[in-house]
Every structure is written in structure tokens, then in C-alpha cells.
Amino acid sequence: MFWLSLHKLKRSFLTASARVIEAAIVATIILAGGLGSSWYMVEAGSRLTTAKLGPWISWTAAARPDADPYTRAHFVKAGTLPVSAQIQRTLVARTDQNGDRLHSSCEYIVEGALPKVEWWSLAIFDERGRLIPNEADRYTFTGQTVALAHAGNFAVTLAREARPGNWLPTGGAGRLALVLNIAENRTPDSTAKINAAQMPTIRKIKCR
């Protein structure tokens, strides 16, 4: 009699445990699948919402009245006030050409030519979008202020210490975000025509 009761108790314990595990699995699917996928789509975007040109990423419907919910949530969450993607393209790079995170402990060179655009600017921020304090008060180069090399190419060095030529100080900011704003004569369907080969490259020179 005693052994029978013990056996029943054991079976009901195992059944209850199985139900708890099932409930946990279902809850994980709901939370991870629902909240996790939403967080990812808002933070990183997808092919539906962003265009990836090498290390540069732009949200194709930024600040547009017909923007999708992911784009809207992304910019509200980021706390930024972007210019509409219809008139200006904003590209953000958080990695170099090899996919490694941009970091102030390393030195980089950003090279390229943007001959067909009306106006452009290249600015360096920390990963939260704050300007990096520096004694030179230098935070950006534009198509008008950058010193061009031969053939209209430009080269901007991102480094902690001063470098000759176009130097953007990175201080001790840690992870970096490089922002390229481009204003160009565009038709609404020209977005797809800009390809990665036309974008400036970001090469790591050395790290400390």
C-alpha cells in the first residue's frame, strides 16, 4: 500500500514537472519569438527596412511619412531627428571593411570618392551618437572642407593621436559610429542603384 502511494506520488510529480517544462518552452517561444524578433528588427533592421552597402547601413524609409513601424520605432528609440530619406541618405558604419567593430583603440583610414553627389559630410560619434570631445574641436569633414587627393579621392584618418591630412580624433570613446550623410539628386526609385563599390572603404591600419 505504501509503495503504491509512493509510485502515484512520483507519477504525479513527473507529470507536473513535464507540464511546467512545456509551459516554460511555450513561454520562451512567445517571449523570445515575439519580443526578441521585434527588438532585432527595430535595432538592426532587415533587408525590408535597410540597405547594406559594405559596412555602411542606411534605413531606406527614415523619417518618411510612409515609413514602416520598424523604421519609426528605430528612430524614436534612438532619439534622433533624421532628415527624410527622400532628400538625404544617412549611412552609419559601426564596423570596418572586414566586419570588425570600429573602436577608438584602433586607427582607420576612410577612403573614397563621391563625385556624383551634391553634398556630403562624414562625422564620427561614440556608439551612442555623442560627439567625441577633442582639443582640435574637430568632429566632421564635408565635401567642402576635406582636403582632396589626386583624382578627387579623399582619405580621412580616424585615430586617437593627431595625424597629417584629414584627421578625425577618436579620443578614448570606445566603440565608434561613423556617419556619412549624402545629399544627391535622386529620383524615388534610385535607391537601389547606389552600390557598395561606390561607397568609401574603411580599412583598419593598426590597433594598440
Partner: protein, 193 residues
């Protein structure tokens, strides 16, 4: 053996898993849609204490010590006016002297619903009339009363509240006073009922 156990478990719980996936999809949609509403530091909320109501404020040059929003372009000068059409229309007058200048209107959620750009080598004067969203009689226009309108090429835009931002390229110290003077001339005037 373990694979067949897992397959058996999955097939016996197919309905539960399907419901879980549907609930996850619903949660995904709800979380994405309400994210802009529950995000604390929206640009509008951050700028509301800074940007005065119905008055343009010319912000000082963007520096690490003076950067109200993330990723603000340091090569741009900004003038901002917060508007609200609840008490009546708001008229906006802005001059865009050249390339790089831009006028942009934002909703509190950050949607840029109107933009005007400066053109290379010519002055562009913009006059806008922001009207309430609600359908109500706003009075007779100057033309209807036999008077000449004070503004030309006025564009009516139905909107509630939001932010007007004028962007000007910061061309350096030599141009700074001229740029600021042009930004100071921008007006954002309410016309109560």
C-alpha cells in the same frame, strides 16, 4: 531514439506550439507598434523643454557639450520651433538662401511630413499655414474679405502638434553671423480663433 521522442512530443503538442507561434506573432506586432509610444527619450520629448512654443530658437553650434540629440550633424546649424494648432492656425515663414538649407516639419513621433530645400544660387522664401486637423471654420481668408493676402504661395497643412526644424550648413566662422541672422528671421506665429 531521442529524435523519435522529440518528434512524438512535437506532434502531440502541435496545437499548443501553433498557438505559441501565433501569440509570438501578435506580441511581435504589438511590441513594434507601441515601441514609439512608450520610448521615454523621444526627440520631441527631449526638445520640448528646449524649443519654445511658437517661437524659433537658434541653437548654438553642435559640440559635445551642446548636443541635445544623438547623431546631430556638427556641420549643421539648427533653428527649431515647437507648434500646436489646437488654439488656431500657425503661420510659418522661412528663407532658405541656398544649397544645404532645409526646412522640415516633424510630428511628435518623428515623421518628417514636409520638407523644403534651398536651391543653389537663389533665395527660396517659404510661407506655410499649419491648420488644425479637426474640421472647423477658420474664418474668411483675406482674399474673401477683399484684402490682399500678407503672404504669397501659402501652403495649408493639416496637423496637430510637432516640431519645425530649419537646417543651415555651418560654413565656418566667416559665415556664422550671416547664417544666424537668416535663421533668426524665421517666424512661427499662432493665429488663435
Amino acid at each position: 531514439m531521442q529524435m523519435s521522442t522529440l518528434t512524438g512530443w512535437l506532434s502531440s503538442r502541435a496545437r499548443v506550439l501553433l498557438i505559441a507561434v501565433i501569440l509570438a506573432a501578435i506580441l511581435h506586432i504589438v511590441a513594434t507598434l507601441i515601441a514609439p509610444r512608450i520610448a521615454g527619450g523621444t526627440p520631441f520629448a527631449k526638445l520640448s523643454p528646449v524649443a519654445p512654443l511658437h517661437k524659433f530658437l537658434v541653437l548654438p553650434p553642435v559640440t559635445p557639450q551642446n548636443q541635445p540629440l544623438a547623431f546631430m550633424a556638427p556641420d549643421v546649424r539648427y533653428a527649431m520651433c515647437r507648434y500646436n494648432t489646437a488654439q488656431g492656425p500657425v503661420s510659418v515663414s522661412v528663407r532658405l538662401p541656398g544649397r544645404g538649407w532645409a526646412l522640415a516639419l516633424y510630428t511628435p513621433e518623428g515623421d518628417n511630413f514636409y520638407t523644403a530645400l534651398g536651391q543653389d544660387g537663389q533665395l527660396t522664401d517659404i510661407s506655410l499655414q499649419l491648420t488644425p486637423v479637426a474640421d472647423r471654420f477658420l474664418g474668411l481668408t483675406p482674399e474673401a474679405r477683399g484684402m490682399a493676402s500678407e503672404t504669397t504661395a501659402t501652403l495649408d497643412i493639416a496637423t496637430g502638434s510637432g516640431l519645425i526644424v530649419v537646417r543651415a550648413p555651418d560654413l565656418g566662422l566667416a559665415y556664422r553671423a550671416d547664417t544666424e541672422a537668416t535663421l533668426q528671421r524665421a517666424t512661427c506665429t499662432p493665429h488663435p480663433f
